[in-house]
């Protein structure tokens, strides 16, 4: 990493370089109860998250199931409306956007879903599926759209004839390619990949990851890459955010995060990931207990119930995400 890049940490990046900016985003799902279905509580799926994504960058989001990483992706995609906070995309506040304006804006950010078996309408041919974004947004004539569909299918490594067939005739990896072609059709600037490879075989995962990397170079895409798989995130990301119970506990450049994780949760997570080198043995940090319910998160630091380095202050005060060392952001009282 060059000195110039080192100085460009999230706080010092010029505005024009920032593609996506989340500020204090919260997403609470109400819990209703009783005959009158009154709100009696809330599941805090995403609880005060802020981060920025630079143009051309890939940000990995990792965490256990239920930590809010998928909800974050859906809030970015405007599938869910945030309870609080703002989302800025390409300099525009899209938090309150709706109707036509939102539909126009949406062309710039697209999503690739986890399960390619449920993300493609089984009753539409592949050609119709890939053409749909173009048709809906009125991009060109019939002939132009057909040519574009054939080109897109080739870009993702399928034959142009595939457009005449139906999703059920393809394997999981091929379907994910179709889903990617569909996401690429509108030439987006950002792609949110929500567990985009976790439903695939390991050998196919590599193919799809390489395809995503190639596309990023070719089209200058930015990715928010959501996964529970640390190795996959390490492979694709520039920066990695670690989430726990709806909060961002650590956010840093990939190299730093994987070589010197600061947050005790990140340390535990990394120690649990399989090590490809045979002779390297590591101390495994085993966390006791289960993830607390996001409907009733612990006071102070959400991780204090399972943290091996817990202190008194952790139980009462919520740590803020602050820079430590050279730009590694961590939310932990150990580094305050």
């Amino acid at each position: 990493m060059s000195v110039a890049e080192r100085q460009m940490d999230a706080n010092h990046t010029p505005q024009s370089d920032i593609l996506l900016e989340l500020t204090g985003v919260k997403k609470y799902f109400p819990i209703t109860g009783g005959v009158l279905r009154r709100t009696i509580g809330a599941v805090k799926a995403v609880d005060d998250i802020s981060f920025t994504l630079r143009k051309g960058e890939t940000l990995g989001l990792v965490g256990e199931s239920g930590c809010g990483k998928s909800t974050t992706g859906r809030v970015i995609m405007k599938i869910l409306d945030p309870t609080a906070g703002t989302i800025r995309f390409d300099g525009r506040d899209i938090t309150k956007l709706s109707g036509r304006a939102l539909r126009e804006m949406r062309q710039d950010f697209q999503m690739v879903f986890q399960d390619p078996y449920s993300s493609l309408n089984p009753r539409m041919s592949v050609g119709a599926l890939v053409a749909e974004p173009l048709i809906v947004n009125k991009k060109g004539t019939r002939e132009q759209i057909r040519d574009e569909v054939e080109r897109l299918l080739q870009v993702v490594g399928l034959s142009p004839e595939a457009r005449l067939r139906f999703p059920h005739e393809f394997s999981g990896g091929q379907r994910q390619r179709i889903a990617i072609a569909r996401a690429l059709a509108l030439k987006p600037k950002l792609i949110v990949a929500d567990e985009a490879v976790s439903a695939l075989d390991v050998s196919i995962q590599a193919q799809i990851l390489n395809l995503l990397a190639d596309l990023r170079k070719e089209f200058g895409l930015s990715y928010v890459f959501i996964s529970h798989n640390l190795a996959v995130v390490k492979h694709v990301s520039d920066r990695v955010g670690v989430m726990y119970l709806g909060r961002m506990v650590e956010l840093a450049d990939k190299a730093k995060l994987y070589s010197q994780p600061l947050h005790p949760y990140t340390q535990a997570l990394l120690s649990a990931a399989p090590e490809p080198k045979r002779n390297v043995t590591r101390d495994r940090i085993v966390l006791a207990g289960d993830v607390p319910s996001p409907a009733n998160p612990p006071s102070g630091c959400a991780f204090h119930t399972r943290c091996p380095k817990v202190m008194d202050v952790c139980k009462s005060q919520r740590p803020e995400l602050t820079a430590y060392g050279d730009g590694q952001l961590v939310a932990c009282h150990l580094y305050a």
């Binding site: 995609m77 405007k78 599938i79 539909r103 126009e104 949406r106 062309q107 697209q110 999503m111 879903f113 986890q114 399960d115 449920s118 993300s119 493609l120 309408n121 089984p122 009753r123 539409m124 041919s125 592949v126 749909e132 974004p133 809906v136 947004n137 004839e161 005449l164 067939r165 139906f166 059920h168 005739e169 889903a179 569909r182 059709a185 509108l186």
Partner: protein, 302 residues
């Protein structure tokens, strides 16, 4: 030999374009491999053809009575005899299907249409809209159906095919509505429906392009089963005297005309054929429905 080889080599390889088969087409291919279902289609088609071409199969009109020749046993002139009013039984069996099938199909489509519209709106929007709409369905499901038929018939002071269709349609939709609401609620959370939204589809497009086509297989099965039950319903209502007027031939009406002990024991030629037609129609429609269900959903081997 040599020229042949050369020719073969020169011949351009044809560009092979395989067109895929849609899931609907695959389902129909499976359907036509099911012998019972195909038998159902054949029998039902025969019944429909017979009722359509009734004028060519009998020279008698089902609504002009031969009053000099009532309660006739089968003769060369009247192969199934005549009833107490002198109507030709064969003509009434042949023409009677028109009423039964019209009522059954029209009522099935009407209740499906209303049910899909209502259930679709309820399921698509969800939330409080869904809540209010479903409470109304609960009320409608408990509505006494026979009383409504009686009330409507006395209000309009008419008996007839379309009153029957209307009554069945407006009372039978809550069942399908509830099923369709469930389908829509389930589909709404499907990734491809959420995905359609992210690429900028309008709600209309999502409903008609992504959701409805995926309920179609379910709808077809639902229609086929309800047609079967409405054939039985028409028969039951006519049997109770709540169906079409006596002058209009219907299978249920014919059964009603033969309820006397004398007719039951001595005139099987009068009530046997309409009964057989009702049973055959219901059976064949049910077999078709079973076949469609298995064809559209190969996993369910119920």
């Amino acid at each position: 030999m040599a020229t042949q080889i050369v020719q073969h080599a020169v011949k351009k390889p044809e560009r092979k374009v395989t067109v895929g088969k849609s899931p609907t087409r695959l389902a129909f291919e499976r359907f036509f491999r099911n012998p019972l279902a195909v038998a159902g289609v054949i029998v039902l088609s025969l019944i429909i053809l017979v009722t359509i071409f009734a004028p060519f199969l009998t020279k008698f009109s089902p609504s002009t009575a031969d009053i000099m020749n009532t309660d006739s046993p089968p003769t060369a002139l009247h192969p199934l005899g005549t009833d107490a009013s002198g109507f030709d039984n064969l003509a009434r069996v042949l023409y009677g299907g028109r009423v039964d099938l019209t009522v059954a199909f029209a009522a099935a489509f009407m209740s499906m249409f209303l049910g899909t519209l209502y259930g679709g709106i309820s399921g698509f929007f969800g939330g409080w809209v869904d809540n209010i709409m479903m409470r109304f369905v609960d009320i409608m499901l408990n509505f006494p159906f026979l009383i409504l038929v009686l009330a409507l018939e006395s209000i309009f002071s008419v008996q007839g095919v379309w009153i029957l269709v209307f009554v069945v349609g407006v009372t039978a939709w809550p069942g399908p509505a509830r099923l369709m609401r469930g389908m829509f609620l389930q589909l709404r959370e499907q990734d491809y429906v959420i995905g359609a939204r992210t690429i900028g589809c309008s709600s209309w497009r999502i409903i008609f392009r992504h959701m409805l086509p995926n309920t179609l297989s379910f709808l077809i099965v639902l229609v086929s089963f309800s047609v079967a039950s409405y054939v039985g319903l028409e028969a039951a209502l006519s049997f109770l005297g709540l169906g079409v007027p006596l002058s209009v031939p219907s299978w249920g009406g014919m059964l009603n005309a033969s309820t006397g002990y004398i007719q039951l024991t001595t005139e099987p030629y009068a009530w046997g054929p309409p009964m057989a037609m009702i049973v055959l129609t219901i059976l064949s429609v049910n077999f078709i429905g079973d076949g469609l269900r298995d064809a559209f959903d190969p996993q369910s081997k119920a």
